[in-house]
Amino acid sequence: MKHDRWLPYYLIAPSLLFMGAFFLYPFIQIFAEAFTSSDGNVGLANFTRIYQDFNFWPSLKNTLLLTGVVVPLQLVLAIGMALMVTRMNKGRDSILYIWTIPLGISDLAAGIIWLAILEQFGFLNSFLSAVSVIDAPASWLNYQNAFALFLAVVVAEIWRGTAIVLVILVSGMGLIPKEYDEAGQVFGASYWQRLWKITLPMLRPSIQSALILRTLLALEVFAVVMMLGGSDMPVLMSETFDWQFLYQQTGAAAAYAVLIMLISVVITGFYIKFLNVPKEAR
């Protein structure tokens, strides 16, 4: 079959063209927009503009702090859950399904769910008042309670985003040959020793991809924060949205987008360098 040599290229061509048109082209365009000011000059005008905005530092700080708090907690929680899953016999599938439910829930819906619980007249305050911890409904989700608001977003993000880490880790654990752990048992290693010396090191490729994916998603946090905090807690994505949609300043929005991409690239590079996965472990 002579034409077979070209067949794979015909098969991948449509997807390549599509990604070229809707991924590569806008990707280049976003840089062009970010470095072109509204009067057509090429330069850093858009960046100085967002830098001088009073929401710049708070949004950067909130996003990085949120990522720094949420991602490690999610990793630890997901490792714990994945280890529990491996020790389950009956009911494993049902429990795994329940634990991965948040995977299918949009960040917007997750924000709404936690709003129902944490808002001033929500379920948490009702509960606290029923057990007489508080007398009157307290409002947690505003800028006066910056710490409570931050905590609320952390809780909602952990609720929503841990499932993806869990799924990656559980499928990674399935790839570890059972013989290693059995050999450890034969030599009398305790559960904790096997965990630290066998399971976790073998899991490193999965941990790395879970960390990269989850961190990038955390940097894009948007709808949860919009729902719980509104404008009281600016993050990079909500600022991008405001500049584009409310102020109609596409150049400044593009500058924020470039900033988010830049942070993503730096952090991904950091993970790849410092969580170095040896070739043979892949």
Binding site: F18, M84, G104, S171, K178, E220, F245
Partner: protein, 305 residues
């Protein structure tokens, strides 16, 4: 030396270690043979408690949202909340008749279906190529697909908003679906490629020997076997689009999707709209994920390397 250190760390393992060689079943035997140590029982209950708490941690918030959406609007804004809702459809009814909800729902559905079709029609052939052929440039293509998965795609909606105005598809569901498809396409390629890899090439070769050409062999032999998996990745593409917020809110103004509607009318819409809207967002996604739960792990397993 190793065994002595393990005893020091975990004395409780002594009882089972004698007969437990490797598998879980033998460990259970060991526990029934000897009298279970108190420590073992404590661990077992701790384990069960941990699992139950995590199950509740996932389910209770969703249950509370559902509770809110079968309460009356007065209950939703009232104080204090009770766990006994009025079981009324007043809130959902109000939601249905709220200005713009029906069209937003229709738009969300349409965008998700478009996304699904684009992702599968473009992704499945590429997945087949990756599974069945070895060709120069294959690894480069695979790299592009894997890397693009980690890219903040919704941000690309910003330049596309401008480009779409020039092309004349601004504020259109088709334009939005294109952006959602860039999110879903990499997954579709990776999932379908692992699917096709799981179908023995010998089956296809047998069909060729019996006189089928490549396309016929694919359609009559491979496709029926791959259909459930392809459906699963289509459903996954649907959910990706259905749940996406940022690009939807940027790209649709008049023809907005449900997520765009909820974000854009955040400040003016009453609380019951949010909760009913949240429920409408959550339920289909849950049903769909339930339908494809079998594939979830192989999906992420292969696509994470």
């Amino acid at each position: 030396m190793k065994s002595s250190s393990s005893e020091a760390v975990m004395p409780s393992s002594l009882s089972s270690r004698a007969s437990a060689s490797s598998a879980d079943s033998s460990r259970q035997e060991a526990q029934t043979a000897h009298k279970p140590r108190r420590n073992d029982m404590a661990w077992k209950w701790l384990f069960r408690a941990g699992v139950s708490i995590l199950v509740l941690w996932v389910l209770v918030p969703i249950a509370l949202l559902m509770l809110n959406s079968v309460s009356t609007p007065e209950q939703i804004t009232g104080w204090p909340k009770t766990l006994t809702p009025a079981l009324s459809f007043e809130t959902l009814d109000f939601f249905w008749h709220y200005q713009g909800v029906i069209s937003a729902l229709g738009n969300s559905l349409l965008a998700a279906v478009f996304t699904m079709v684009i992702a599968i029609v473009l992704g499945a052939p590429a997945g087949y190529a990756l599974a069945r052929f070895v060709f120069p440039g294959m690894n480069a293509y695979r790299m592009i697909i894997i890397l693009s998965r980690a890219f903040p795609m919704p941000l690309l909606a910003l330049p596309l908003a401008v480009i779409f105005i020039q092309v004349g598809i601004d504020d259109s569901i088709l334009g939005l679906a294109m952006v959602h498809a860039t999110l879903a396409l990499p997954f579709a390629v990776l999932i379908t490629s692992s699917l096709f890899m799981g179908i023995p090439v010998e089956l296809e070769e047998a069909a060729w020997l019996m006189g089928c050409n490549r396309w016929q062999a694919f359609r009559r032999v491979v496709l029926p076997l791959a259909a459930p998996g392809i459906t699963a990745s289509a459903v996954f593409a649907f959910v990706i689009s259905w749940n996406e917020v940022f690009a939807s809110a940027i790209l649709t103004v008049e023809n907005r999707t449900l997520t765009a509607f909820l974000v854009q009318s955040l400040s003016e819409s009453p609380a019951e709209i949010k909760y009913a809207g949240g429920l409408i967002l959550v339920v289909p996604a849950l049903l769909f994920l339930f339908a494809i739960r079998k594939y979830l792990f192989s999906m992420w397993g292969i696509s994470n390397r």
